[in-house]
Subunit: 203 residues, 2 copies
């Protein structure tokens, strides 16, 4: 599982740079992959540059050359775009379940969110990024689906609390019951909750 980084230059929008192919792309990718894994596993402070470099089988100084400093590395490590599916197509009463399934999906086959969750808790920059993701992904959905658009932030926040709580207990704290549930069952339980937070009359 060395990296397939070069092909990630499919024209993504982070910067306008057309990604001039460098000879070091493989190394850069290896560093990024190792960083994601370490950040996800250990959190910001305990994930040392030296350990990441060793995982990527290069010298720590390379990390500095390519990413400036530790913060820069982390920023790069979680600059992946988690695209949400077009929930506009989903019927209004299924949005809750669709949302849960989507995030469950992203979390399951990408360590980035776990890393950000871990980091967001001790590192202010991480918290901000986390906040950004949920604002960008959840708020529009809430605004479109909930009865009074003025309520959208509150409703999005409630959804975030349930979805993040699920991720916390399942992927970070690993409470046995939360780990044991299948994705399907999880969606069965949480779907209605999220749906209610989005569409129910305020209590």
């Amino acid at each position: 599982m060395t990296e397939s980084a070069p092909d990630s230059a499919t024209g993504k929008a982070t910067e306008a740079a057309a990604a001039p192919p460098r000879r070091s792309d493989a190394t850069r990718g290896a560093i990024l992959a190792a960083a994601r894994e370490r950040f996800a596993a250990d959190g910001y402070e305990r994930a040392t540059i030296r350990a990441i470099a060793k995982d990527a089988r290069i010298d720590p100084s390379m990390v500095m050359r390519y990413y400036g400093n530790k913060e820069g590395l982390f920023a790069a490590a979680c600059s992946i775009d988690l695209r949400l599916p077009d929930l506009a197509a989903v019927p209004r009463e299924d949005v809750g379940r669709a949302l849960v399934t989507h995030f469950l999906d992203v979390w399951e086959n990408d360590g980035v969110l776990t890393a950000m969750l871990r980091v967001g808790i001790t590192n202010a920059a991480g918290a901000e990024r986390m906040q950004g993701i949920f604002r960008d992904q959840l708020l529009p959905v809430a605004r479109r689906v909930c009865p009074d658009p003025a309520d959208a932030p509150v409703r999005a926040g409630l959804c975030a609390s349930q979805i993040l709580g699920m991720a916390l207990t399942r992927y970070v704290l690993r409470f046995p019951p939360a780990v044991a549930l299948s994705g399907e069952e999880m969606a069965d339980w949480l779907g209605p909750t999220v749906q209610r937070y989005l569409t129910a009359e305020r209590p």
Copy 2:
């Protein structure tokens, strides 16, 4: 070995020790208070013994003398017992709301849980302690209230996910909408969710 082990013959071991009054109790308390605050604010790694000592206005070496090492200090800092009220008195259909209110309460006027949440994410011991709390507090309630006692762990886990998610967004990540809600409103929203996780037929 400078520890208070010998004189603990006063009775029960773990807690309720008759607390032989030492001259340094004030200092010990100051250290513990500063530690709780720092751990809650910064997490385990970034809360340094030096900083805690400075907050308590004593020398770092005192921390070592009284608590052995950093782990010992943390263990002492979160060895507060959060007593849950006798939910046996609460009518079955109000348990959800009561539970949310209770945890909201504890979280609000005691930094310990925030500290543990923060620490539990990078520190295995913290995670275990967190798990213990929810097992001891939530599982019995679930077992008493839910239709099939065999489901209790799952239901308790689901409740934990929602309650921890609330705490995460409100007290750690500080998402604006989650912070803005009053405790009352929060209970209005989350109460039914927890209630459903506890008592509804499995979906």
